[in-house]
């Protein structure tokens, strides 16, 4: 280990640890403490109640659907933005960040307005017999919107930095476009795609503001887990809120760990032996 020669370690590390401790660790520890104080049986009863299970189901399935959509669309968007130049590409590139910049509540009411049966898109879809607002499909669309930038923004820089010589080498060896994409480009994008997918999925699992307006919030069918936590709070059932919130917290940590593991696996070929 290198010796630390620069000044300010104590001050900066002190500030950092104090702040992280106070703002991040303490509340999460309090939550875990509260959930743990329930005892295993009560805890299990709450987190495995049929209403909670239904909320996990709709949350996870919608998040999966949204992530799969964003996987394809995000990759296509990143590809178009790095490989092709067309009038207005800079504007499209900037617009990609809108879901991050636009407050979730604003996105929520806007999407609802679009997709209710008398909205611009909702009325057309209603004619086709598709109902979006107040159904799981609406939840999925809200999740698609809020997590859209993750995959684009993780894939884009990798695609930009991809050594053109790799593609040229594959071409000189006779590979077709599809073969080169599948065997050379896609594998090199995989670590970034995985990172984007897990960020996108984690964000969708925890999303609240954009969803509650469009979801309909019917228990057992369109009630997401984050909302169930909120409802338990409003019912002053703090222990249940703590227990279900802890499930979301665990899910977030599992996603974090999974991401790191998948990334290091996908990048194992770069390790020098």
């Amino acid at each position: 280990m290198r010796r630390n020669v620069l000044p300010g370690l104590r001050l900066s590390l002190g500030v950092t640890l104090f702040y992280v401790g106070l703002i991040v660790v303490l509340p999460l520890a309090a939550l875990v403490f509260k959930a743990a104080s329930l005892g295993p049986e009560d805890y299990w009863r709450i987190v495995s109640s049929s209403r909670a299970l239904a909320s996990y189901r709709v949350t996870v399935l919608s998040a999966l659907g949204a992530t799969v959509f964003n996987l394809f669309f995000g990759l296509a968007l990143a590809w178009v933005l790095t490989r092709y130049r067309f009038p207005g590409w800079r504007i499209v590139d900037a617009m990609v960040d809108l879901p991050f910049a636009l407050p979730t509540a604003v996105a929520g009411i806007a999407l609802t307005a679009l997709f209710t049966t008398n909205g611009w898109f909702g009325s057309i879809l209603a004619d086709l017999g598709i109902k979006v607002a107040y159904t799981p499909l609406g939840i999925m669309i809200a999740m698609c919107f809020t997590s859209l930038p993750f995959i684009v923004r993780t894939v884009q820089p990798v695609l930009e930095d991809l050594d053109p010589a790799l593609e040229e080498a594959a071409q000189s060896l006779g590979g077709s476009d599809w073969q080169i994409f599948r065997k050379v480009i896609l594998p090199l994008l995989t670590p970034a795609l995985l990172a984007g997918v897990s960020l996108s999925f984690a964000r969708s699992l925890g999303e609240f503001g954009a969803i509650i307006f469009i979801a309909g919030n019917q228990p057992m069918s369109t009630e997401i887990t984050a909302l169930l936590v909120f409802i338990r709070l409003e019912e002053y059932d703090y222990q249940a809120a703590a227990a279900i919130a802890s499930v979301l917290l665990i899910a977030a940590f599992v996603m974090l760990a999974l991401t790191n593991w998948m990334q290091s696996r996908a990048l194992r070929y770069t390790v020098r032996g």
Partner: protein
């Protein structure tokens, strides 16, 4: 495969990288494109490969006009400057890639057998399972060559093949590439900015400057008979003396040399360090030694003439010369160019 470039032109934005280059390369020949950076050598190589398209002119492979044939159908093997090995594939997978994507379907066993054969050819037996990040630079270079050879190319093209390697590795690989070329007899073009590399390795050296071919020929031809001051300077160290030609002789600071056939007038005299010698008595160019640099194979003497020109020349290791000594620089041979 014989390759012919006919009045080839390439412009990038406003930069004219290649201007009207015509060149013929015989089947089985090993040719070096030699030039400083910006001379257009890499662009020519990439146009032969189909990685760039010529703006004007034609490129023929044999009798076929290949100017507009895309790289994937051109049947060339290209070794990239930084190898461009696929980092997520093992060495064996890298070498097998071209055979797997080929329109000619091959049996899996046949591909594997060919990979083993190529690994043996480039002397990397047993390293097939490694990833590119796990092998040395010289080994990567050889993987890149094996990969390029895997598709039985009509032409082998190498872009600065030894540029990224240490000096001693470079030396060995040079000799080895020459052997491989002799074994396979494949038409080969490589690009380099290192004149020693070009002279050591190539059957023919093509010297480029500013997108033009300045001179071409065997190593002997370009070394013994450089046709311009650029080639003279680019191929190695040279002393330059202002000279004057009168009646078929060139005179420079007290030295004179026959240049029969040259018109009278001002000229420049170029002499390699080995073309000069040192003696205590005249005739010669009066000078005094300013420094002696000792090297394993001889002594390099730095001297200043009475007229203030700086000269460098080599003497045998046992010659007792030292700084401060006065004497005469004598001329064994020199090239004279009119200015």
């Amino acid at each position: 495969m014989k390759i012919r470039l006919e009045n080839v032109v390439k412009t990038f934005e406003t930069f004219r990288a290649v201007r009207d280059v015509s060149l013929e390369i015989e089947s089985g020949e090993l040719v070096a494109l030699l030039g400083p950076s910006g001379s257009g050598k890499t662009t020519i190589l990439r146009m032969v490969a189909g990685l760039e398209y010529a703006d004007g002119g034609h490129i023929y492979f044999g009798d076929q006009d290949a100017t507009d044939i895309p790289v994937r159908d051109r049947g060339v093997g290209f070794v990239f400057q930084h190898y461009a090995l696929f980092p997520h594939m093992t060495v064996a997978e890298n070498i097998a890639f071209g055979m797997k994507v080929s329109k000619v379907k091959r049996e899996k066993a046949a591909i594997e057998a060919r990979v083993v054969e190529l690994l043996r050819l480039v002397r990397l037996e047993g390293l097939g399972g490694r990833f590119p990040a796990q092998i040395s630079g010289g080994q990567r270079q050889r993987v890149a060559l094996a990969r390029a050879l895997s598709v039985d190319p009509k032409v082998l093209l190498l872009d600065e093949p030894f540029g990224a390697l240490d000096a001693n590795v470079r030396h060995d690989l040079r000799r080895w590439l020459r052997e491989i070329h002799r074994e396979l007899g494949i038409t080969t073009i490589f690009v380099t900015h290192d004149q020693e590399e070009a002279l050591d390795l190539a059957d023919r050296v093509v010297i480029l400057k500013d997108g033009h071919i300045i001179q071409q020929g065997t190593a002997e031809e370009v070394c013994r008979n450089p046709q311009s001051t650029f080639v003279m300077k680019f191929l190695g160290d040279a002393n330059v003396l202002a000279a004057e030609v009168r009646d078929g002789r060139a005179y420079a600071s007290g030295a004179a040399i026959d240049v029969s056939g040259m018109a009278d007038g001002k000229a420049e005299l170029y002499a390699r360090p080995a073309d000069l010698d040192w003696s205590a008595q005249g005739p010669g160019i009066p000078a005094s030694i300013t420094r002696v640099l000792d090297r394993p194979d001889g002594r390099r003497v730095l001297a200043t003439t009475e007229t203030g020109e700086l000269l460098e020349f080599d003497v045998e290791p046992e010659r007792p010369v030292k700084a401060g000594e006065g004497g005469f620089v004598t001329l064994r041979r020199a090239k004279v160019f009119a200015v």
